[in-house]
C-alpha cells in the first residue's frame, strides 16, 4: 500500500523531470540543493566494496560511485553550472538521524531496504542483493545452519542478521550462544581469535572480510543461506517524492546501461584499492534481473 502510494506520487512528479525546473516549483531536497549549490553524500568508512576509504583516505566504492552519478543527474536536472558534492562519514547508528536532520542527502553504503526502515527513510532502486550466511574457520568443518548447534556465534549488533539468527535459534532450538559485536571487523576478529565459532552476516560483507584477512584460505562461507536474498538500497529522506523521482530515474538508467554492469565488474570481480584484493563475486542471476528491472521493493520475493 505504502509502496503503491510512493509510486503514484513519483508518477505524478514525473513531468517535473522532463520539464525545466523553475525555482518556484521546487521543494525539499531539490530546493535545498538549488539554493545552497551543494549536495551532501553520506559514506561508510569500512563497508568494502560498497563505500569505504582507500589508501589516500578518500571514499570509494560501488555504492559511492552510484551516488556520484546520482549527484550528476541532480545537477543536470536543476540545470546548475556548478554544484559542490560534500562528503560526510556515517555509521550504522548515525545514518538515519543524519538523513532526517538534513546533514546528508544520500546515504551510500550497504543499507538493507526493509519495511520497518521505510517508516523513517526512503530507498531508491536496489543496487545489490545479499543473503545472510556465516563464515567459520575451515578446520571446524561447519557448512549448514544446523552445524551451528550449541556453538558460539557472533553477529554485528543492530543488524538484520543478528535478528534473523536469533529467530532461527529460537525456532529450531539450536542452543547457540549469540554474541553481539560492535562492528564487522571486530566480529570477524572474534572468529579469528577463537572467541566465536562463526560470524553471521551478509554474504558479500563476509567475502570482503575473508579476502582482506591475513589468511583468506583458512575461512569458508556456509553454502546454506540463513535468509532469502535481501535488497540493498541508497537511502533518501522520506516524503520527498520529487527528489526520489530524480534519483530513481538516474539509478534506473544507470543500472540498465552497460555502464551499470561495468561498475559491478570493477568492484566485485577485479582487484580493488587499497590493497588489490579481489572479491571474485561474479554477478548472480537474481542480481542481473534486479539491474535489468530496477525496483525499490523491500520484499525479497520481488527479486
Amino acid at each position: 500500500m505504502r509502496l503503491r502510494h510512493a509510486l503514484l506520487l513519483a508518477a505524478l512528479a514525473l513531468p517535473g523531470i522532463t520539464a525545466p525546473a523553475g525555482a518556484q516549483d521546487l521543494s525539499g531536497t531539490l530546493k535545498k540543493v538549488k539554493d545552497t549549490g551543494a549536495i551532501t553524500i553520506g559514506y561508510r568508512d569500512s563497508s568494502v566494496p560498497f563505500s569505504y576509504l582507500d589508501g589516500n583516505q578518500k571514499p570509494v566504492g560501488y555504492a559511492y560511485e552510484i551516488c556520484l552519478k546520482v549527484a550528476e543527474a541532480v545537477k543536470a536536472h536543476l540545470k546548475l553550472t556548478t554544484m559542490e558534492v560534500k562528503l560526510n562519514p556515517v555509521t550504522s547508528a548515525t545514518r538515519i538521524p543524519l538523513i532526517a536532520n538534513g546533514t546528508i542527502d544520500l546515504e551510500c553504503g550497504s543499507t538493507t531496504n526493509n519495511p520497518d526502515r521505510q517508516k523513517q527513510a526512503a530507498f531508491t532502486n536496489t543496487h545489490f542483493l545479499t543473503a545472510t550466511r556465516y563464515v567459520a574457520k575451515k578446520e571446524k568443518g561447519l557448512d549448514k545452519t544446523d552445524d551451528l548447534k550449541g556453538r558460539a556465534v557472533v553477529s554485528t549488533s543492530g543488524t538484520t542478521n543478528i535478528r534473523q539468527i536469533n529467530e532461527i535459534n529460537t525456532a529450531r532450538s539450536l542452543g547457540m550462544r549469540i554474541l553481539p559485536a560492535k562492528d564487522h571487523a571486530e566480529a570477524f576478529l572474534m572468529v579469528e581469535t577463537g572467541r566465536a565459532d562463526a560470524f553471521v552476516m551478509d554474504d558479500v560483507l563476509l567475502a570482503s572480510l575473508v579476502a582482506g584477512s591475513k589468511t583468506p584460505d583458512a575461512y569458508a562461507i556456509s553454502s546454506e543461506a540463513q535468509s532469502r536474498p535481501e535488497p540493498y538500497g541508497i537511502m533518501l529522506r522520506k516524503d520527498d517524492a520529487p527528489f526520489k523521482a530524480v534519483v530513481d530515474a538516474a539509478t534506473a538508467a544507470l543500472y540498465k546501461s552497460p555502464e551499470g554492469k561495468a561498475l559491478y565488474e570493477t568492484w566485485f570481480t577485479q582487484a580493488i584499492p587499497p590493497r588489490g584484493i579481489n572479491l571474485k563475486l561474479p554477478m548472480s542471476e537474481a542480481m542481473q534481473k534486479a539491474l535489468a528491472n530496477p525496483s525499490d521493493s523491500p520484499d525479497p520475493a520481488a527479486y
Partner: protein, 230 residues
C-alpha cells in the same frame, strides 16, 4: 597469533594517523579546553552568584552534564545541533553543521561542567578577607573578580585544569563512534579496512600513553612552580 603480527600497516598509514588524526585530536582538545574553561568559569561564577534563579540554572546544567555518559551526550549533540542552530538563526530548515564544529560544541559544553567545578573550588579557595579588602578599596564586583579573585583562582587551579585537559584529550577518542577521524578514529578506520585491529590498537595505546604521561609529568613540574606559598 602474536607470531604473525603485521605491523607494516602502521608504517604505511603514519601520515594519515598523525597528519590528519592527531591534528584533529589536538585541535579539538585545545579549542574545547579553551572554550570549556571560559564557559566553565562563567558557570562557576553563576553558581556562586547567590542570585536564586541563576545559581539554580548553573547547578542543574552542571549536574545534568555530569550524570550522563559522554557517548550519549555526543550522540545527542550530533543530531540536535542542526536544529538548535536553526532555532538560533531563525531558519526554517536545519542548518548544516560540520562534524568538527559539532564535536567542538559538544566537548566545549560537556567539559565546561567539569571545568566549572574546578573553578568553583578555585574561587572558593580565595580567603573571604580578600574580597572584603577589595570592596573596602571601592572595587566593583567585576573589578574584584577580574583583578583579585580570578587571577589567583586560575593560578591555584592551573594544575587541575591541565589535568582535566589531559582527560579531555583522552575523551576525544570517543568521537570515533560518530566515525569522525580523530587519532583513534583514523587508527580504527585503517584497522577495520585492513583487518589489523590488534596491531593498530596496541600502537594507539602506546601513543596515547606517551603523550599523556609526558603531559602529566610536565603538569607536576608546573605544580611545584606555580604553587602559592602561604
Amino acid at each position: 597469533m602474536f607470531a604473525h603480527f603485521d605491523f607494516s600497516v602502521i608504517g604505511a598509514s603514519l601520515p594519515y594517523l598523525f597528519g590528519q588524526g592527531m591534528v584533529f585530536t589536538v585541535t579539538l582538545t585545545a579549542l574545547a579546553a579553551t572554550g570549556g574553561i571560559v564557559f566553565g568559569t562563567a558557570l562557576a561564577m553563576m553558581r556562586l552568584s547567590g542570585i536564586p534563579g541563576v545559581t539554580h540554572a548553573a547547578k542543574v546544567y552542571v549536574e545534568l552534564m555530569r550524570s550522563l555518559p559522554l557517548v550519549l551526550v555526543i550522540f545527542w549533540f550530533y543530531f540536535l545541533v542542526p536544529y538548535i542552530g536553526a532555532w538560533a538563526t531563525g531558519s526554517a530548515t536545519p542548518i548544516q553543521v560540520g562534524a568538527f564544529s559539532s564535536a567542538l560544541i559538544t566537548f566545549t559544553l560537556f567539559e565546561a561542567a567539569y571545568f566549572a567545578e574546578i573553578m568553583r573550588a578555585g574561587i572558593q579557595s580565595i580567603p573571604k578577607g580578600q574580597t572584603a579588602a577589595a570592596s573596602a578599596l571601592g572595587m566593583s564586583y567585576a573589578q574584584t573578580m577580574r583583578l583579585v579573585v580570578l587571577p589567583q583562582a586560575f593560578r591555584n587551579m592551573l594544575p587541575l585544569l591541565l589535568t582535566q585537559t589531559i582527560v579531555l584529550f583522552q575523551d576525544t577518542s570517543l568521537v570515533y563512534v560518530l566515525s569522525l577521524t580523530d587519532f583513534l578514529g583514523a587508527a580504527s578506520k585503517v584497522a577495520q579496512r585492513d583487518g589489523r585491529l590488534v596491531e593498530m590498537y596496541l600502537f594507539a595505546a602506546l601513543v596515547y600513553f606517551a603523550v599523556c604521561f609526558t603531559a602529566s609529568l610536565l603538569v607536576r613540574r608546573l605544580q611545584t612552580r606555580v604553587a602559592i606559598i602561604r
